[in-house]
Amino acid sequence: MSHWIIAPIILPALLAPLIAYVMRYDIVLARAASFAGALALVAIAVGLAVLSADGAVHVYDLGNWPAPFGIVLVLDRLSAVLVLLTAVLALIVLTHAAATGWDTRGRHFHALFQFQIMGICGAFLTGDAFNLFVFFEILLIASYGLMIHGGGKVRLQAGLQYVVMNLAGSTLFLIALGTLYAATGTLNLADLAVKVREIPIEEAALIRVAAMLLMVVFAIKAALFPIQFWLPATYANAPAPVAALFAIMTKVGAYAIIRIHSMIFGPEIAATDGLTGTWLFPAAAVTLAIGAFGVLGARRLMPLLAFSVVASMGTMMLAVAAFTPWATTAALYYLIHSTFAAAALFLLADLVVSRRPEGDRLDPAPATVQNGLFAALFFAGAVAMAGMPPLSGFLGKLMILDALRDPQFMALGWTAVLAGSLLVIVGLARAGSVLFWRSTAVAAHVPAADDAEPRPEARPASPLEVAPTVAAIGMTALLAAFAGPLTDFLDAGSRQVFHAEDYIAAVLGPQEVPEVPQPEPDAAEDPVQEEG
């Protein structure tokens, strides 16, 4: 039992209160601590990824309570790669926030940031459904603070909407957990996987309700079709670095669907046979369509990018909804890619928007400083997001198309992905040309027509401010360059998820096979007695 498994949760959890209480008046100290934490987290996450690469499922019993009674943290390849993704993204976003001074526009940015990281890492690592709820709440309550960081009328209104939406989602999560517990008598993921397998189809009504309720809850987080409407307003009005960090938050919902609906309510389970895929697939296709049309119709840059996130979630969930190991591999590759692509675009948008007198409205305006640099970066980011050849979006979409070759998915899936990509390309191309090309024309034709000139304060971006954007785009290039090894790793990870026996054996002990109904009566009587 390696204690490092809990480090991605403990480290930010200890750092955040320190930053909030000890370093609250010293932004330099807070930045340094936050940076040190983010760097250490990357190191730990790399270590965990190496640890998980041996193919075993590593279990950490909290308080050393045995699995069905205590809460466990579980590290497998899927968790490890997502924790690593979180750590790298956090480092990039933190650099941007510190370089552009976003972290000084309100209080407690770094403390909230660390709590957010703690919640995300915890959600990826936990092996208990109720603990998943608790980590969701931790990441949400930190995200509420980050969302309204900096204040302002529209941002507070959007923040209020976001909080209300997610509180309703949390309530639904509790009801889903209650239903699940009533039907199975356990909330441990491995134990659930065992119990759900034993439920015959005639008695499966309650468990089917629980499965669908959980899917709705995760779909809220992942911004899927009927409940995607909160995302554009939230991401468009959040501070740009926070929006870039939120790129991983939708993925938490996607991860939960992969983990719970592949492993517990998986495709071959009698009680929930084919239930989730039936609903998830069309919902993902509609999500993709909404995102694509939103990109096409947006009149401001930030909503446009937010809708491109919706479209990427739709693309990813199409692959998840197939519920096969290879499709999940494709979805995971696309997940990593779309996180960096969205982060790059949001960070770049912050650099551009803060220098334009028009803000993020897509109107022609005089060119700002470094127009060429920003245009090139936007081009690269848009290429990544839309899925054009050199960067990883292309490979990701190719893998998803390949995974959806099954005739029952092919017609709708291919149409949605290909048509959606076309619309996103058109939308991003239009935005880029308005922002960067037509701006030069405006500057040439009407040099002194405007009365007020608010341009002098637009100062060029320092290398440190541009570096995070370049790093995020560079990550997509790296993803494309090392697609082979990464895909092998992810493929092993998704096979691990679909081969739930390893997970069950690692968590509940090797003597446990799905046929054994009651393992606990004599061995566990005393711990239960003391627990109350």
Binding site: Q157, Q161, T171, G178
Partner: protein, 122 residues
């Protein structure tokens, strides 16, 4: 007993949903509070309803006990819901003070860049 618990969950949920759909900050906060009460009672009932039984196993007595886990879950959920409600009140207050308006929905402010408000709604 079952009837009381079931109908209280139902009534609280119905009231909560109605209030949330009012799209004004104060009714929405009350509605979310009612919804969280409903969720708590539901969670409590998920361990089966049993009266006059301790939530622990008795070593010497008969094996009559009520499931302690839902009680622990409910306790956690109450704490979280309480904290979240407090935070929601603060955010709603901030939004109200900034905007001078307690609407939850954003009207066309998203896309037009400035607040264009439909009058006569709610």
């Amino acid at each position: 007993m079952e009837l009381i618990v079931a109908s209280s969950v139902g009534v609280l949920t119905a009231g909560g949903v109605y209030l949330v759909l009012r799209l004004r900050a104060f009714p929405v906060i009350l509605g979310l509070a009612l919804l969280s009460y409903a969720a708590n009672i539901f969670l409590f009932a998920s361990g089966r309803l049993r009266i006059n039984a301790p939530p622990v196993l008795q070593k010497y007595g008969e094996a009559v006990y009520t499931d302690p886990l839902p009680q622990a879950l409910t306790l956690t959920a109450i704490v979280i819901a309480f904290g979240m409600t407090a935070l929601l009140v603060m955010v709603a207050l901030g939004a109200f003070i900034e905007a001078g308006d307690d609407r939850i929905d954003m009207t066309e402010a998203d896309d037009a860049g400035k607040a264009v408000r439909k009058d006569g709604a709610a």
